[in-house]
């Protein structure tokens, strides 16, 4: 019977979490609390982390990150724009698709670097280090989702970069339960990923 009481308590916790996530702004508040503010300052390079591509077509978030990186480049914040991202199908890599996107928006070829082999955030930090540090790059503007920066920033700092956060998304206050639940899912997912990276000793 004690097992069932524990079950009930877990169930109660689940119901409370669901109701709070869907019908109160708790997910939005958590999102604000966890996010790092943008630190836009002149740097040696702009590094845009990978997100996803399917048969050469960038996912929505991937295109948003790439657009933000291009905008930062066009503001003159760094002379180099580095795109990361491989592919899991036969199509072009995410980094190649982003580079094409950047060229179409006026970024010169000589300012673009791509990295296509990394499959995780940790591998991205290691490979960007190998790619950029021989070129003398020390300070970077790191472009990714604001929640992802929680994990990505310490990884790139460990790799020896001086990191400036450049979150590609903007805060939005979701007003439907579906949007709020989606945001809470993202927040909890990133917290779990962060805990895993900490436990594994990656950061």
């Amino acid at each position: 019977m004690k097992g069932m009481q524990v079950c009930r308590l877990i169930g109660l916790g689940g119901v409370v979490l669901f109701l709070a996530s869907a019908f109160t702004p708790v997910a939005h508040l958590l999102d604000i609390w966890l996010n790092a503010p943008a630190e836009l300052a002149p740097s040696d390079a702009i590094v845009v982390l990978g997100q996803g591509v399917s048969r050469g077509v960038l996912s929505g978030d991937s295109a948003t990150r790439a657009s933000h990186g291009i905008a930062l480049y066009q503001r003159g914040l760094a002379p180099l724009l580095v795109f990361s991202g491989g592919t899991s199908d036969a199509g072009p890599t995410e980094a190649a698709a982003r580079a094409e996107f950047a060229r179409a928006r006026g970024v010169p070829q000589h300012a673009i670097l791509i990295e296509t082999k990394a499959r995780t955030t940790r591998e991205e930090a290691q490979r960007e280090k190998a790619l950029l540090q021989p070129k003398g790059v020390r300070t970077i503007l790191l472009v990714t989702d604001s929640l992802h920066l929680l994990r990505a920033r310490p990884l790139f700092e460990q790799a020896g970069f001086e990191v400036r956060s450049a979150p590609s998304d903007t805060f939005f206050d979701p007003d439907t339960p579906e949007e709020r639940l989606g945001l809470m899912r993202g927040v909890l997912g990133e917290i779990v990923a962060l805990l895993y990276y900490r436990m594994a000793g990656f950061i």
């Binding site: 169930g11 119901v15 439907t176």
Partner: protein
């Protein structure tokens, strides 16, 4: 639809079904608390299965990466289907437990006679 409207409508249908059970089907209002407890048990069981499934999935993904050298993304565990399937597992396990304990208590009563 406004979130508050969702809560009001769900509250309304809950009240109607409560009155229907009470007045039409002659069910006892005392059993509502027990029914709520059973609902919490089912959700608790679902969350336990959800945690078990995610832990297993992460372990398998990391083992496949390590042993087979094949990269499998951990992001596959973010799919909402995990929660739906865990709900089915939790429901079945909970019903199995209930039916088994009913049978056991019936068996012990028969043996007592």
């Amino acid at each position: 639809m406004e979130p508050i409207l969702i809560l009001i409508l769900v509250g309304l249908t809950s009240l109607c079904s409560y009155l229907f059970g009470l007045k039409r089907l002659m069910w006892s209002s005392r059993h509502v608390a027990a029914a709520l407890n059973k609902m919490l048990e089912c959700i608790g069981m679902t969350l336990i299965f959800f945690a078990l499934n995610l832990l297993t999935a992460v372990s398998v993904v990391l083992a496949v990466r390590e042993i087979a050298g094949v990269f499998v993304s951990v992001y596959t565990i973010g799919d909402p289907a995990w929660l739906a399937l865990s709900f089915l597992q939790g429901l079945i396990f909970q019903w199995w437990r209930e039916l088994s304990s009913e049978r056991q208590s019936q068996g012990s009563q028969t043996a007592g006679h």
